[in-house]
Symmetry: C2
Subunit: 254 residues, 2 copies
């Protein structure tokens, strides 16, 4: 199973929206897909209409209680897409994990030898704490959603430094499969400027596909549906399908 962490410690840059829609697009193209919600806010779980009461087991059980992965996986309404949901007790996990052995390797151990899915996405919270470190220690590669704003650009170097640290200490094989520009607003001069800066310094790492600012993407979760299902023809959905095609081109053969 290919494991992809979707991370950026800057808040509100489109991590969850990317996780929900790229996972849906991959399932739609025939990949057996697993989404792990590692954010105590549980937005990825809500985005599939799985309300708090329906989250039987969660990523908290996986990390802290070391429950078997197969017990924490539940189906979504999307064929070929399963999820490990998040609950609010995950916000206590960071403190609870501090004093355990191998505290950054808990998730990696939980996913070891799992072959029922072909690809797994991990939605991370907006921080570089133990939850995100678990995701980076587990992942084969990292997908970075980046908003074309000044503060978001500032955070990129902190993220890349953390990746380096994780490569040295916990996961030498961790790569970066790409950076996707999100909430792109053509009318906004700053957006273009930041996008040019990012492409200048990261080159081909930046996906060609750009996710435009599109209100349908932010409406979809209130219906408990990914945008690809809520409105598959909208600009946002088309952009995520194009991103999925590009991502597949960067993955090893199934």
């Amino acid at each position: 199973m290919i494991r992809i962490a979707i991370a950026n410690q800057k808040g509100g840059v489109g991590k969850t929206t990317t996780a929900i829609n790229i996972a849906t697009a991959m399932a739609a193209t025939g990949w057996k897909t697993l989404l792990i919600d590692l954010d105590p806010q549980g937005n990825a779980s809500t985005g599939f209409g799985i309300y708090a009461a329906d989250r039987i087991r969660s990523s908290y059980d996986l990390l802290v209680d070391q429950a078997p992965l197969v017990e924490c996986i539940q189906p979504t309404s999307i064929p070929g897409l399963d999820i490990v949901p998040a609950t609010v007790d995950l916000s206590g996990a960071e403190v609870e994990l501090v004093s355990v052995e191998q505290r950054t390797a808990r998730l990696r151990a939980a996913l070891a030898d799992h072959t029922a899915h072909e690809i797994c996405f991990i939605d991370c919270p907006p921080s570089l704490g133990l939850l995100t470190l678990n995701a980076l220690t587990t992942a084969d590669t990292l997908l970075v959603p980046l908003q074309c704003e000044f503060f978001a650009l500032e955070g990129l170097s902190q993220l890349l430094q953390t990746v380096e640290r994780v490569q040295q200490r916990f996961n030498p094989d961790l790569g970066i499969i790409g950076v996707v520009l999100t909430m792109f607003d053509r009318r906004n001069r700053l957006t273009d400027q930041v996008a040019d800066d990012v492409r200048d310094c990261l080159g081909g790492l930046v996906f060609e596909s750009v996710i435009p600012r599109n209100v349908r993407l932010s409406e979809a979760p209130s219906h408990g549906l990914p945008a690809l299902v809520y409105d598959h023809a909208c600009a946002g959905s088309r952009a995520y399908m194009s991103l999925a095609r590009e991502l597949i081109g960067r993955l090893p053969e199934k």
Copy 2:
């Protein structure tokens, strides 16, 4: 000194933009103002043009090394506004604080008996971990920036539950001075719907002043200036000045 935490665990809702501009507006109206940057991203510090090399002491020194507050404060380019900047080592503070005594009361102890400023704002990171808990344990009151989006609304109940927990265990006097709607986009139907929901359930807690989505607010930090200085006549600046007037109306006499 009145201590106000600016917090919301949802990422990217305008905490830092609110902290920078409300602190500037308060200083401009004659309040001796202190801003404490408690986010490892250090966006509030950057927003005043204080680059990493110029951050002599920081909120990390305050919390972890218990350095005296007066040594960690440095001036900004705004008369009447000082700052305790943040550095990236703050992201290690959460793990380092777990095993110390009174780990949520470190900031409160650091600010005790400080009278050189009349009001203090604390910019929080997007999480409910030990840094935000320190801010909530220290604060007299909480200012909540809220983006009018579905995921942001979902997070509000988690935040209010955390506030209740902090009131019971660490800071019985913690109040909520208000909720400010941010990035308000009149053209977006979802925005209006969420705003109506919020006003229905929180009533007068929601400030009348609404911060519109305004590109000048996101351009200002790249010039190292608060929007109130970068473009004092833009819609964003006028909204923050209106918010400051409303906030003053809710504060005890100076």
